[in-house]
């Protein structure tokens, strides 16, 4: 679409674009140059402030911190997917006494900030005698929150499937649970895969909130090494750049996986075209709205 917004540029426009491009590059470069100059002027890149990279013990602790982030992500993701599938199925149940509580729970967990949930499990619950480690508190919060969002995504995915699918399954004599687990959920999962993965990217980023409850993840590692005055004179800038690059790298890998799966999906003949395109569009819109709520 964006290419339709403007004509193929004529000679005048091309000159104008070139001038604008040069100006744009100049502004961008000036901004970058200014920041780099500040880096140098405030001695952020002196040998002492970069020296931390060289130590084996620090490299090991970095790997450990990444490991903690990734294991919180992995466990949180699996639990959230299970939670999401269960609650999506519950929200589509024929019985109001299953449907309504499931809907209420999903809506509530989607409305509560993740930070508040983590505080609740880590600082609130111990007064009742239930003690959770920071890791458990992070994982449980990630499960409840992202699980609720995933439940909405699954539900939208199932709703977008043609009615004929479940009708055919019922006609074959399958029971409700069978229809759900063997026919609807797998297809919905496939259809919603890109959305699900981008939700998982969100989950990965949200592990960094564990920082606020002293979970020893990547960001916490960064503030610890970056704040070290004794050995390295507070290399906060260089450490944070590395930490940011690692996060961006991990998220891009996941996003890349999503696009790869989407492409493979499109080639795959097993995918069913949804009932009518408009309805599918609306449902997808719904789901992406649901995701939009959290992707941020």
């Amino acid at each position: 679409m964006s290419m339709v917004l403007f004509d193929v540029p004529g000679p005048k426009a091309r000159v104008r674009h070139k001038i604008l491009a040069v100006a744009g590059i100049a502004v961008a470069l000036a901004a970058v140059a200014y920041v780099v100059m500040r880096f140098i002027a405030t001695e952020q890149f002196t040998a002492r402030r970069l020296d931390w990279i060289n130590y084996k013990q620090i490299q090991l602790s970095l790997l450990e911190a990444i490991g903690n982030t990734l294991s919180a992500f992995a466990i949180g993701a699996v639990l959230a997917l299970v939670f999401g599938a269960l609650f999506a199925a519950a929200r589509l149940s024929d019985h109001a006494w299953v449907r309504t509580p499931a809907a209420v729970i999903v809506e509530i967990f989607r409305a509560i900030p993740l930070v508040i949930m983590m505080f609740f499990f880590y600082y609130g619950l111990p007064s009742t005698g239930i003690k959770m480690s920071a890791f458990t508190a992070v994982v449980v919060s990630l499960m409840l929150y992202n699980g609720s969002v995933l439940a909405e995504i699954f539900r939208a995915g199932i709703n977008s499937l043609p009615k004929g699918q479940s009708e055919a399954a019922y006609a074959l004599g399958m029971r409700k649970t069978q229809v759900m687990t063997f026919v609807l959920l797998p297809q919905a999962l496939r259809a919603m895969l890109p959305t699900i993965i981008s939700q998982l990217v969100v989950l990965l980023k949200d592990t960094a909130l564990g920082f606020l409850i002293t979970f020893e993840e990547l960001l916490r590692w960064g503030t610890l090494i970056g704040g070290d005055a004794v050995n390295f004179g507070r290399p906060m800038i260089s450490v944070m750049i590395v930490v940011a690059l690692i996060y961006i790298g991990m998220c891009l890998l996941l996003t890349w996986l999503a696009t790869y799966l989407e492409k493979r999906n499109r080639r795959n003949k097993k995918v069913i075209k949804t009932d009518n395109d408009d309805a599918g569009q609306v449902q997808l819109g719904n789901a992406s709205a649901a995701v939009g709520g959290v992707t941020v």
Partner: protein, 215 residues
């Protein structure tokens, strides 16, 4: 219940600050996000690249990291001294703007191609077309996901808890300092957010239903 009634003033004050933080960052991120979206669809490739880089970097960085950067790393550069509150606004704005940009951009993509072609045939310039034809039409498909983005921003203000910016997330600190029951205090904070978010979700669903039919 007594946790709430005894500290009503505290709850109201801090939720008020949450709303203030939210309002300021919301306005700023809407402006910045729309500008970025304009960059991302512009005819100049360099502008598109700048917009795309910004969005990729900010969307794949945890918000907590953006906060840490502006609170603990940025001051080391000795550029312009900012208060923690300003730093929080900047972090929330820069982060949310990336998402606003994507919402606006995908909204633009929903406007039928013929609209753009027709306006070009009429001789409208890029800016005229974007401002007078495409964006007004894109608005209807933008509003529901934008509401979601804003709900997320509202909830994200609580990240400021670890960074010396008082808002609803800091209620826990205040309660535990007074020796009050943190568990129930946090339940009330959660209820507070549910109360704030629910109407927004409702509005979003209404818009979505109405406009999905119109489309």
């Amino acid at each position: 219940m007594s946790v709430l009634t005894n500290n009503l003033e505290l709850f109201l004050r801090l939720f008020g600050q949450t709303l203030q933080l939210f309002a300021i960052s919301a306005v700023l991120s809407l402006v910045l996000g729309t500008l970025l979206a304009a960059l991302r669809v512009s005819p100049v490739p360099v502008f598109r690249a700048i917009g795309a880089t910004y969005v990729t970097v900010l969307r794949n960085t945890p918000l907590t990291l953006v906060f840490v950067f502006f609170l603990f790393a940025y001051p080391l550069l000795e550029i312009l001294r900012i208060e923690p509150y300003t730093a929080a606004v900047v972090a929330l704005t820069l982060y949310t703007a990336a998402f606003v940009c994507e919402v606006v951009r995908s909204g633009i993509n929903t406007v039928p191609v013929g609209q753009a072609e027709a306006s070009r045939a009429l001789g409208l310039t890029f800016t005229q077309m974007l401002g007078n034809v495409v964006l007004p039409q894109a608005l209807r498909s933008v509003v529901p996901p934008m509401t979601s983005t804003m709900i997320a921003l509202l909830k994200n203000t609580t990240v400021a808890s670890g960074f010396a910016v008082p808002q609803a997330g800091s209620i826990r600190d205040a309660l535990s300092e007074q020796g009050d029951n943190v568990l129930f205090g946090l339940i009330w904070v959660a209820i507070g957010f549910v109360v704030l978010v629910m109407p927004l979700t409702y509005v979003q669903q209404v818009f979505e239903k109405r406009w999905s039919v119109a489309r």
